[in-house]
């Protein structure tokens, strides 16, 4: 009798996809909710720090070493550029899932007791940094050389011109790509299940395993990913539109002279 009651609470073997999805969602609502949150914040924190890293990488890549610079500065810049180049190459040429394993188990074996979430964020940061570095480099190079010259000719330093003139324009150009990177990171958090980050993929595996309903369980998270990304996409489109600015301008009529 009791056994029958338990069974009757499930949609049963003939239950439709929708019925099972609804059942799993209800039964594991707390887990799915917390997993969605984990997915979201791992992606957000990882992406934001990754962007900062990416900008540093991109700016480093665009530093021009002049023949006239003093030798110490030249050597240091060369070393810095080398480190950045090697880092960027390694992280772009290996799969994220493998990076996750290497970083997580590598650190733990060397007595750095990093949590799986922290390791997950670290993987996303390093990945994003490597890819964004390239995007930012391209973004900076796409800004006409004259923009910097205009600032230099007034007495600004290269760094000052970079921060006030070039980067603001470059950022505007790479905003769509930044949005893409964020979306991609949000979905790529799924590979972090291999190091035990309790994000959506791992939850689906757990929930699906309990009833042997993998199709339904993954369908649930597919929809969660879809909704999440859809909303973010709309927000990004709005931000992009905002940064474009107005097409018209107001004439300062007080300065119009009658002639």
């Amino acid at each position: 009798m009791e056994y029958g009651l338990l069974l009757s609470s499930t949609p049963g073997a003939e239950g439709s996809l929708f019925a099972w999805c609804a059942f799993l969602l209800k039964k594991y609502s707390g887990m799915f909710l917390s997993a969605t949150w984990t997915t979201f914040y791992v992606a957000v924190i990882g992406t934001i720090i990754g962007f900062i890293l990416g900008f540093l990488v991109g700016i480093t890549n665009t530093i021009v070493i002049h023949k006239e610079d003093n030798p110490i500065k030249k050597v240091l810049l060369h070393i810095l550029k080398w480190i950045v180049a090697i880092y960027s190459e390694i992280f772009r040429d290996t799969p994220m899932i493998v990076q996750g394993m290497v970083i997580y188990y590598g650190l733990r074996q060397n007595d750095v007791m990093i949590s799986s979430v922290m390791a997950g964020i670290l993987v996303i940061v390093l990945n994003t940094g490597a890819y964004m570095g390239e995007t930012v480099r391209a973004g900076i190079n796409s800004i006409d050389k004259g923009q910097e010259e205009g600032a230099l000719a007034m007495g600004m330093s290269h760094f000052g011109a970079m921060m006030t003139i070039i980067l603001p324009q470059a950022i505007k150009n790479v905003i769509p790509e930044m949005g893409n990177t964020f979306l991609s990171n949000l979905k790529m958090t799924s590979v972090l299940n291999v190091i035990g980050v309790s994000e959506l993929f791992l939850m689906a595996k757990t929930a699906g395993g309990a009833y042997y309903k993998y199709y339904e369980s993954y369908m649930v998270i597919a929809i969660i990913y879809l909704v999440l990304c859809f909303v973010i996409n709309r927000i990004l489109a709005f931000v992009e539109k905002k940064t474009k600015g107005r097409k018209d301008y107001e004439l300062a009529t007080e300065y119009i002279t009658g002639d």
Binding site: H66, D144, G155, S157, Y249, A252, Y255
Partner: protein, 249 residues
């Protein structure tokens, strides 16, 4: 004679194996309006860019009030804030509107107050007839308007010398006039200017000294009356002759 502002000494500039400037010597005095003419590739733009160190001279020196301009940021900042530059491609900052463009250097390089920057910007924008457009972005302006804003931006720094690198070459004929007339009025106010140009009429009528450059050398450095009417050098004659021919046809 007036007070010497800039002295170019033994200036050589090479790009790889190509020697663009070959031992250039000349000086600029206060109040002079110097036009540099010559065919494309003669080195005139490079000379101008070397004068404000956008190109680092390969050898030789630029002296500003008898002091060598060193290739350090501190020295360059001080020097460049006194020597403005107007470019062929305007180089207005695309991420700022007209007013912000003009205030930028006053705030960031001269470190003056916002009010002072604004006052200067409005004054000089009025001077070039662009004050009504303070809220416009560079992309919303015509070439001639952009160049006038660029000139106002240069003037806001209160420079001792203003350098012009082919300021009208990127403009269509209708807009050349409005820029030249602004420059003419600046010349009449006594602003020291060095102008690289292909506008021969302007050079002839406005400059106090005209320099003809060819193949990396200063070939002739004369008053415009002499240079245009009685050129001494064969190459100068040839160049002016070709120019006159082109104008007739």
């Amino acid at each position: 004679m007036g007070e010497k502002i800039i002295d170019v000494k033994n200036l050589v500039k090479t790009f790889g194996d190509h020697e663009v400037l070959k031992k250039i010597d000349f000086s600029v005095e206060k109040g002079e309006v110097i036009c540099i003419i010559g065919s494309s590739g003669s080195g005139k733009s490079t000379l101008l860019r070397c004068i404000n160190h956008l190109e680092t001279p390969t050898s030789g020196d630029i002296l500003f009030h008898n002091e060598v301009v060193k290739n350090t940021q501190k020295s360059l900042t001080k020097y460049r804030s006194c020597v403005g530059m107007v470019f062929q491609s305007f180089n207005l900052f695309d991420n700022m509107n007209v007013l912000e463009n003009c205030m930028f250097g006053v705030r960031k390089v001269l470190h003056l107050s916002k009010e002072e920057a604004r006052t200067r910007a409005i004054t000089h924008l009025k001077e070039v007839g662009m004050a009504p457009y303070i809220n416009a972005r560079p992309s919303q302006l015509s070439g001639g308007q952009k160049q006038r804003v660029a000139i106002a931006r240069g003037l806001c720094m209160n420079p001792e010398v203003l350098l012009f690198d082919e300021p009208t070459s990127a403009l269509d004929p209708e807009m050349v006039g409005e820029v030249l007339s602004v420059m003419k009025s600046l010349a009449s106010q006594g602003l020291t200017m060095i102008i690289v140009t292909h506008e021969m009429e302007f050079a002839k009528n406005v400059s106090t000294r005209t320099i003809f450059m060819d193949n990396g050398y200063v070939v002739e450095d004369e008053s415009p009356e002499i240079l245009f009417n009685h050129p001494k050098n064969e190459r100068t004659k040839e160049f002016l002759h070709r120019y006159m021919e082109a104008k007739v046809s």
